[in-house]
């Protein structure tokens, strides 16, 4: 041993200088491997005579000692391993202290090697835990002494401190990386809404971070109870689209159990899926993707290298990615649902025949639908960003339109108005404006415009036509009445004259002309009345009158007609019935019409006219009832009797005369006066018509007429 030739004193100085150089080399190393190399090379350079130096680090997965740096073994294989429980250096690992073996060949654990001398093993310890061992060998037997032990232990101490420091930094850096990866993933979630792309990003990151060879993410298809692989990286084939039932394969297993799982050897595992029989997978780690306890998918990572197995530490890392993937799936589901709803409503708006426009709080158009473009002639691009009232209102309607808009920001408004198209033409529209609130915040308003131009035109046309009809009828009535007056007047006059001349045989024929003329006149008057009622031109002339007097008058007028068919006529009117306010002429006309009807359809029977006051709550009503024992009506006839030109049968009109308009007119007169008319009848059992009128008829409907009349 050449080094033993140095003197004792200079040896100490030499050793101290060597240790200083060694420490400097170790401290200036920045990675674990650099530290191992610095320690091994430094010792080798300083202490000539060590034939082999090796830094073995324990693999935490299996306890093997892996050669990370060596000196004196030029062709040492990279990551050369000594299995756990084998080799002399195992003892130092086991008890954490320095072991000296003066003659390795006599040691039971000796693995035959190039070196056949002595060996020192010094454990590398950090925080009381042995992480590896420095093996120093010499070709000679018993080549080491206390000085060697001292310098070797000093070097190992320095290296241990340096490794602890580097590992601390490494852990810090890894935590920082994990944090960044997490942030990156979250950023992806908000920017990339396409689910498979997000999940691909998640699995890419997980594979990188975990240092595994590949991985997959699957979504749980709730409807079919299956997992569908949507993102895959380096599992030996493109597994995207693969469907896995619950319990099928690693992801199927965790989807069932809802617990993570490590499978050391996939191809020997009972639960393996045939779908993965052709891929290079050795060990697998899988975890369910959960939102609460609800399964949304599964994630798996694989090692294809048989030397790599998963440990609990890897699960911890995987569990950092699983919630991100789960949230991504859930977000995508919610997003898809929201998009479907939005698309549904957008399609409603898009296809609506009603023009729809939405305004922001600044009254500017935010969007409008094709019906709006069509109705107002502005393209969406032209309308958006401009105040709505600038677009579709005119100087005339501006303030009205603005009032609508203002009001609609507060509450729903509904109305009819006239708006302007881009080409200047006007459109009549039904308008509905409603405020738009999202999550309690007022965002603007929505305006709906329904084109009613045609509707209004049709109404105007109809009104004009109706008015023209009424005017025509009025004119016709007048034009007919003039010659009719001559017919009625001359026939009546001739009756008088021929009677005076003694030619009485001509009187009946002249009487027929006269009667026919009167009937025609009645018909014309009724038609005119109806047309006036329908045109809304019939007016009420209200006056206060004595009821009894009116009834007596009506009774005396009707009596001859009633008694002509041998009917008994009974009038019942209380003496103190008093006065009422109404249109006397119309009430007389109605009662005479009812009595005239009864007398036509009753013979040798009874006809009654009854009057009474009825109190119903606070309102007093006058009841006029005309009762007969005549032929009566079927239910079907009763339904039609108040319709114009609806005598029970056309033959009836021929047999009994009358215009067929009297009841229709009476019904409308009653309604105008705030009352009504009812009928009770049965075939062969007579008919009873009941008119009910307020004691102050039409007072509410025609206050002005009433005042005039009273004054």
């Amino acid at each position: 041993m050449t080094r033993r030739s140095t003197s004792r004193g200079s040896a100490l100085a030499h050793r101290q200088a060597a240790l200083l150089r060694l420490t400097t080399r170790i401290v200036s190393a920045h990675t674990e491997d650099d530290i191992y190399r610095a320690m091994v090379d430094g010792l080798h350079d300083e202490a000539i005579g060590y034939s082999f130096l090796g830094a073995f680090i324990i693999d935490p997965k299996n306890g093997d000692r892996v050669l990370r740096a060596s000196a004196g073994w030029p062709d040492a294989p990279e990551n050369w391993r000594v299995h756990k429980g084998e080799g002399i250096s195992e003892r130092a690992v086991e008890d954490g202290t320095l072991h000296y073996t003066p003659d390795v060949t006599r040691e039971s654990r000796y693995l035959p090697s190039r070196v056949r001398g002595s060996e020192v093993d010094i454990p590398l310890r950090i925080d009381g835990e042995t992480i590896g061992v420095l093996v120093v060998e010499s070709d000679e037997r018993d080549a080491f002494d206390e000085e060697d032990f001292e310098i070797l232990e000093a070097a190992v101490d320095q290296a241990s401190i340096a490794i602890a420091r580097v590992r601390l930094l490494e852990a810090e850096r890894r935590r920082a990386d994990e944090h960044k990866a997490l942030l990156d993933t979250l950023a992806d979630l908000s920017s990339e809404l396409e689910l498979s792309r997000v999940l691909q990003a998640v699995i890419d990151r997980a594979v990188t971070q975990l240092g595994v060879s590949g991985g997959e993410v699957a979504i749980y298809d709730e409807e079919r109870g299956e997992l569908v692989v949507v993102a895959s990286r380096s599992v030996g084939k493109d597994s995207t689209g693969t469907r896995l039932k619950l319990d099928e394969g690693a992801m199927g297993a965790v989807a069932r159990s809802l617990e993570p799982l490590i499978i050391p050897s996939y191809h020997e595992w009972m639960g393996r899926s045939e779908k993965y029989s052709d891929v290079m997978v050795h060990s697998v780690m899988a975890a369910p993707l959960l939102i609460g306890r609800r399964l949304v998918g599964a994630i798996a990572t694989v090692h294809s290298d048989p030397d790599h197995v998963f440990i609990e530490e890897d699960l911890r890392l995987l569990n950092m990615f699983a919630p991100q993937a789960a949230i991504a799936i859930e977000n995508a589901r919610l997003y898809t649902e929201a998009r479907r709803q939005r698309e549904y409503f957008e399609s409603l708006v898009l296809n609506s025949p009603v023009a729809i426009v939405s305004l922001g709080l600044d009254h500017e158009v935010v969007s409008c639908n094709p019906a709006f473009e069509k109705l107002f002639g502005y393209s969406s691009a032209e309308a958006v960003g401009r105040p709505l009232d600038d677009l579709i209102s005119t100087a005339d309607t501006r303030s009205e339109a603005e009032a609508y808009t203002r009001e609609a920001f507060d509450h729903a408004v509904h109305g009819i108005g006239r708006r302007r198209r881009k080409d200047g033409a006007f459109v009549d529209v039904e308008i509905l404006g409603v405020p738009v609130d999202v999550e309690g915040e007022r965002l603007g308003l929505m305006g709906l415009y329904h084109d009613i131009t045609e509707l209004l035109e049709a109404r105007r046309d109809a009104e004009a036509a109706n008015s023209a009809k009424s005017q025509f009828l009025a004119n016709m009535s007048h034009e007919l009445r003039t010659p009719l007056n001559a017919i009625i007047g001359y026939s009546e006059m001739l009756q008088e004259e021929v009677a005076d001349l003694g030619q009485t045989e001509l009187v009946p024929d002249l009487g027929k002309i006269h009667t026919a003329g009167r009937h025609l006149l009645a018909l014309i008057n009724d038609v005119l009345d109806l047309s006036k009622i329908e045109a809304g031109k019939m007016e009420l002339y209200l006056e206060e009158f004595d009821i009894r007097q009116m009834i007596d008058d009506v009774a005396s007028t009707a009596r001859p007609l009633i008694e002509k068919n041998a009917n008994h006529f009974a009038v019942s009117c209380p003496a103190g019935v008093g006065k009422m306010q109404g249109d006397l002429t119309k009430i007389r006309q109605m009662l005479l019409n009812l009595l005239s009807n009864s007398s036509k359809f009753t013979s040798q029977g009874k006809i009654g006219l009854e009057v009474a006051r009825e109190r119903n709550g606070g309102d007093e009503t006058l009841v006029f009832r005309v009762r007969d024992t005549g032929i009566g009506m079927t239910a079907e006839q009763q339904q039609k009797v108040f319709e114009a030109f609806a005598q029970a049968e056309t033959s009836t009109a021929r047999r009994f005369g009358g215009t067929g308009l009297g009841l229709a007119i009476s019904k409308r007169f009653c309604e105008m006066m705030g009352g009504g008319i009812e009928l009770e009848s049965e075939p062969g059992g007579g008919s009873t018509f009941t008119i009910r009128l307020p004691t102050a008829a039409g007072a509410a409907a025609e206050p002005n007429a009433e005042e005039e009349e009273v004054a």
Binding site: S477, H478, R481, T482, L484, N485, A486, I488, G489, Y490, E492, M493, E496, E497, D500, L521, N525, L528, M538, E539, Y541, T585
Partner: protein, 127 residues
């Protein structure tokens, strides 16, 4: 003999009513429009005027107002003859100053009743 002024533009109505009144013993003078009616009433002496309302030149309402505004004719009874019991025609006639009204076609008995009532009130003689 009671003198009646009939203001009526329709020839047949004029002929018919004047003949029937004459047969009842009235002395009937005829005017064919409102203007002529007013002139005749103001220049001649009549006991009663039967005034059609729809008249050319000056209508019956105007003619009535003119006669009622003239102290010489304000006491002359006027009966309005309206084409139909048109709502409003009666009120318009009474408003213009007519003393009564009747509707066409004329029912002789009814008209004679109204004429007699007015003549009695104004002290005019029965035919």
């Amino acid at each position: 003999m009671t003198r009646i002024l009939l203001v009526e533009d329709n020839e047949m109505n004029r002929d018919m009513l004047s003949r029937r009144l004459a047969r009842k013993g009235y002395d009937v003078a005829l005017a064919i429009d409102g203007r002529q009616g007013v002139e005749m009433a103001q220049t001649m002496d009549y006991d009663l005027v039967l005034m059609d309302m729809s008249l050319p030149e000056v209508d019956g309402w105007d003619a009535t107002r003119q006669l009622k505004a003239d102290p010489a004719t304000e006491a002359l009874p006027i009966i309005a003859l309206t084409a139909h019991a048109m709502s409003g025609d009666r009120e318009k006639a009474l408003e213009a100053g007519c003393d009564d009204y009747d509707t066409k076609p004329i029912e002789m008995e009814r008209l004679l009743g109204k004429m007699e009532a007015l003549l009695a009130r104004s002290g005019g003689a029965k035919p």
